[in-house]
Subunit: 464 residues, 2 copies
């Protein structure tokens, strides 16, 4: 024993003082501020005001529509008025599919109207519509078991239902009939494709979404009660004929916009923490849970964390074409030279249900800054997972491919898929308290990353 | 004391035997059969099959439509195939209002599409639609406080919300803005009237229903999220302008049909117990809870009770124009000579939620037959109320005015007004177990009335 206990304590105190002076703020310093910010976030009205404003003043804003142009201007104005700097629009090009008039009805044996919504990238029907007999499959697998040519001249219908799960698992599996069913039906000769809405609800509102981009046939989602109706009617054994009329316009390249604002870092302004949601939406609702919520959560959290003037720059990106695809890739392409300085990127795109499981970049949880984050969010009943973030959001894929660490905050999605991509996606479906919990989690995360020197590339290496 | 106890018992036994031979079956005899029928009803598939058939093979069936003609034929076929006799159609005339194309949108300051459904008896807009500024009232009372002429050239909007209640109270009060708001707005010069859907749900499906028959202006229901949206937009202080396009056809007199079937009484076939639901429906859904359920419940219950071949005749009436009005009056007018022989009339028209409180004609509960009924339904958690039935259903009003006793089975309507008059009124919303509870209650009632000599006119007099 070289030194008596008292002296060891004194030495540690000296060492700690030196470290505190020389190094950025770490766990002990970050924790009280992170906790205070969390509490401030829970009472802060910004996120609700942002979601209310976007859904009331813009509403539905599909990529390539006049409403999306208004949403772009709204984003610039909103970030500016909230005190962000370097507010600007980054223009790029991606596809645009816009819905026209649509209708569907059972012609025989029992005439009934059907509630449908065309899928993104669906081709229109000829002007008079098409009428054909239905072949119904209760699962995608049944459709895929059919031989080539076997659906020639038919309307293929898949009525496979999705499972409600707490997280995104139910959708991950349940979305497949919508995404690949149209192409698979077309390969087998079908003249159109109808799919049960990828929905956990029983309302008669259909849920749209991207269909098979290469199907080349009209594709639409049936409301879940209409899918049930078709199943019952087909069971009776008589041929069921449907008339389908769908119109739409498709552009391979249409202007699109990522809207950006920053709070510049105090000490290391070129090191950037990027957070955001997506500004575009599907057309039937008002894009409230998908994704005014994500825009609201990340904008409010960036503002709250930014008010502490942390070391690093906080950047909000409102990605402009998540639903059509392309905004994340465009952002990454425009920022590839900067990628090495992007500390982390996170997208909020699963509604306003509470964060129940936050996944950090690999090895991050071992770092004092993330220990401070975990301590701050424990009272919010947010688990900070030992599993690293796997994928992030659609719009973070491009940066992830450039090696940028991603985070992934799993939200309670129990009701999200009741609403998602349907006319029911409206402001009243956002619970202000749940929204605030999200803001609190993101605020604590942004602050602890931006006011520390955590390097997730390094933690990932060390964790190997 | 004239006789020793043993002898009194013997005398009673003799008296009971004499009564049993001379008089119709009473409580002691009715109770076991009523209980057995209840249990049979709980497991009987008829009601579900009837509701499934009507919603699948016919669907929406507004009065005056081709679908209503098909429903009439369906009713005849269904009653016949279930073994009813004297199956026939009673034709009458009433109004017919049929929806055409409809659309509404906010033009300024923030363009957004609105989800509407025209109200019954609404006038169409001129072909190009109308565009006007909105004046929004949060209650009917606020609208009615406006002076004459004050709404000249405006679109009046009432956003008063209804309260969810177990029974019909929430609707009874909540429906007023829809029923009289249009006329009141028109009196004050409004060019159109929009009302928040009379709904307890938060889906973006509007709920239709009869509007003010004499308003003379276009009238439509907004989905509840759209009513919320308008409130938020108006709060911002800028004029809100709406464009409204509505088409419809109205006929003062169109053919209508009550469909009737009987199970003839064993001993007193001219004494008739009448039960039924209404065959017509509003157009947006498939008329499942309103009122395939009532058709299914009463048809199945009549069949089950009728299988006992009770003394009196059981008659099922599928009233043909409840939503437009007129089917009950037409039935009463056609049967006024028979009215004195109609023992009781009951309509099931509040969906498929469980019966929680059965109200009998005045004084009925004191009669042994109704004691047997009450004993049978106690295990179903149906209260048999000490309060007499007040009103019955819309279609029983005509017979009630002729002095026919009415019954009234209050159902749990907690979810009914989520669905009522909207596209969401589909078969999947009927819970088979709740449907079966209704059938069990009605079966026990029909049997105990039809196989006894209960005279509700007499019980009412004695109860005074």
């Amino acid at each position: 024993m070289a030194h008596p206990p008292g002296m060891r304590i004194a030495l540690f105190a000296v060492a700690a003082a030196i470290l505190a002076a020389a190094a950025p703020a770490q766990a002990a310093d970050l924790a009280p501020t992170a906790a205070a910010l969390r509490d401030k976030a829970l009472a802060d009205p910004t996120a609700w005001a942002v979601a209310e404003s976007l859904t009331t003043e813009i509403g539905a804003r599909p990529q390539g529509s006049p409403a999306m142009d208004r949403a772009r201007d709204w984003g610039v104005e909103k970030l500016t008025s909230l005190g962000f700097v370097n507010v600007h629009v980054e223009t790029f090009e991606t596809t645009s599919w816009l819905r026209g008039a649509e209708s569907a009805e059972i012609v025989s044996p029992y005439p009934q109207k059907l509630q449908i919504l065309g899928l993104g990238r669906s081709t229109p029907t000829p002007p008079g519509g098409i009428e054909a007999e239905v072949v119904l499959f209760k699962s995608l697998a049944e459709l895929m078991a059919q031989p080539p040519g076997s659906l020639k001249g038919k309307i293929a219908v898949v009525t496979q239902a999705m499972r409600r799960t707490q997280g995104i698992e139910g959708y991950g599996s349940g979305v497949l009939p919508r995404v690949i069913g149209g192409s698979e039906a077309a390969k087998r000769g079908a003249v159109a494709f109808l799919v049960r809405s990828v929905s956990t609800d029983d309302t008669r509102l259909p849920h749209t979404g991207g269909g098979g981009a290469t199907a080349g046939i009209p594709m639409a989602a049936l409301s879940t009660p209409d899918a049930d109706l078709l199943e019952r009617m087909v069971t009776r054994g008589q041929p069921v004929r449907i008339k389908l009329s769908m119109d739409s316009t498709f552009r391979e390249k249409a202007p699109a916009y990522n809207v950006v604002g920053e709070i510049r870092g105090r000490e290391a302004p070129d090191e950037v923490v990027i957070v955001g949601g997506h500004l575009d939406s599907w057309d039937p609702g008002t894009g409230a849970v998908d994704d005014a919520a994500g825009i609201a959560i990340t904008t409010a959290a960036a503002k709250l964390a930014g008010a502490e003037r942390p070391r690093r720059t906080i950047r909000v990106v409102m990605w402009g074409a998540e639903e059509q695809g392309g905004s994340g890739d465009a952002y990454a392409a425009a920022h590839k030279d900067e990628a090495g300085k992007i500390v982390v990127v996170g997208e909020s795109d699963l509604g306003a249900g509470e964060v129940y499981n936050a996944k950090l970049p690999k090895g991050g949880l071992g770092h004092p800054a993330m220990q401070a984050f975990a301590a701050a969010v424990t009272p919010l009943k947010a688990i900070v997972s030992r599993q690293p973030a796997a994928e992030g959001g659609s719009d973070t894929d491009g940066l992830r491919a450039l090696g940028v660490p991603v985070t992934e905050f799993n939200q309670d999605a129990g009701r999200y898929f009741d609403l998602h991509h349907s006319a029911d996606d409206t402001l009243d479906k956002i619970d202000p308290k749940e929204l605030a919990q999200n803001v609190a989690v993101w605020t604590a995360f942004i602050y602890t990353v931006a006011d520390s020197d955590i390097d997730f590339r390094k933690t990932a290496k060390e964790a190997k």
